[in-house]
């Protein structure tokens, strides 16, 4: 079924079209929800909520974006709603993961080179799992922005709208999140880590 037929069926509320969309995009959408929620049940609920929301909002879909992009944003929103309703512990500060400087602006530490490029290191399953674990360890405010910008590929403006903040705040969180992620994965990738 081509995109035009899918759009027509979607707007008409044709259940078979929704099933086709689930079978086509559901696995990838579930993976997005899992990355954001780290809980299988919550991730499945988010996908289900997203499809119900998509069904209810079907007539407002204008076809300006691809259906997959539209569904992706609805799943991201559903996952964020889940995150917001969770009973959250106070967020861990990120400062101890950020680089430190001397009064004259020089780094306080020396950074050893990594032994191999990321694409080579990440071909090993255990390294990929280590990086995923490090992303999970980021404080939630930063993890969400890193996931939306660097992994899910949303723009700064789209991310700001979804997390209800300003584009400038998104940029600051993304930069700090990346710096913290570098700190977390560096010991595993630096020279001698595999010795």
């Amino acid at each position: 079924m081509d995109e035009a037929a899918l759009i027509a069926g979607l707007k008409a509320g044709d259940n078979s079209v929704f099933e086709t969309l689930l079978r086509t995009y559901g696995g990838r959408l579930l993976a997005t929800a899992r990355r954001m929620l780290h809980n299988e049940e919550d991730a499945r609920d988010a996908v289900q909520d997203a499809f119900i929301n998509a069904f209810r909002a079907r007539e407002s879909f204008k076809g300006e974006a691809q259906i997959s992009t539209w569904l992706h944003s609805i799943v991201v929103n559903a996952a964020l709603m889940k995150l917001r309703t969770r009973r959250r512990k106070p967020e861990e500060p990120i400062e101890h993961y950020l680089p430190r400087y001397l009064p004259d602006g020089h780094h306080t530490e020396h950074f050893p080179s990594w032994t191999e490029p990321a694409d080579v290191a990440l071909s090993r399953k255990e390294t990929a799992a280590m990086v995923r674990s490090a992303i999970e360890d980021l404080p939630e405010t930063y993890r969400t922005v890193v996931l939306l910008r660097d992994i899910e590929g949303l723009s700064t403006d789209e991310t700001a709208k979804i997390v209800n903040t300003t584009p400038n705040a998104v940029k600051i969180r993304l930069h700090r999140g990346r710096l913290a992620l570098r700190t977390l994965i560096a010991p595993h990738l630096a020279s001698g880590a595999h010795a």
């Binding site: 509320g13 559901g26 696995g27 602006g105 992994i151 990738l189």
Partner: protein, 84 residues
């Protein structure tokens, strides 16, 4: 802006530099510092590699099919939704 950047200022500009959003007058100072500072050069490489690592690490967990029981649960829920 002074002509010589500190390591802290270079770190602050990393994201804009990697996103090719650094003003051209700052870019020259940024690159001059990185060329002369081995530690910042390494840090810049690792900042970029961190972005790649995140993408690659999360890219391999999204290829499986949607579980059949989830499809069924969603379709059951949609059947309860009013059509109009």
């Amino acid at each position: 802006m002074t002509t010589r950047l500190t390591c802290r200022e270079v770190s602050d500009f990393l994201m804009d530099y990697c996103g090719e959003a650094l003003p051209s007058d700052v870019q020259g100072h940024f690159e001059a510092h990185v060329d002369a500072c081995h530690n910042c050069k390494t840090f810049l490489v690792q900042y970029r590699e961190t972005i790649v690592a995140g993408r690659l690490a999360c890219g391999d967990d999204g290829v499986e099919d949607c579980p059949e029981d989830l499809i069924q649960a969603v379709m059951d829920a949609l059947l309860k939704e009013p059509k109009a």
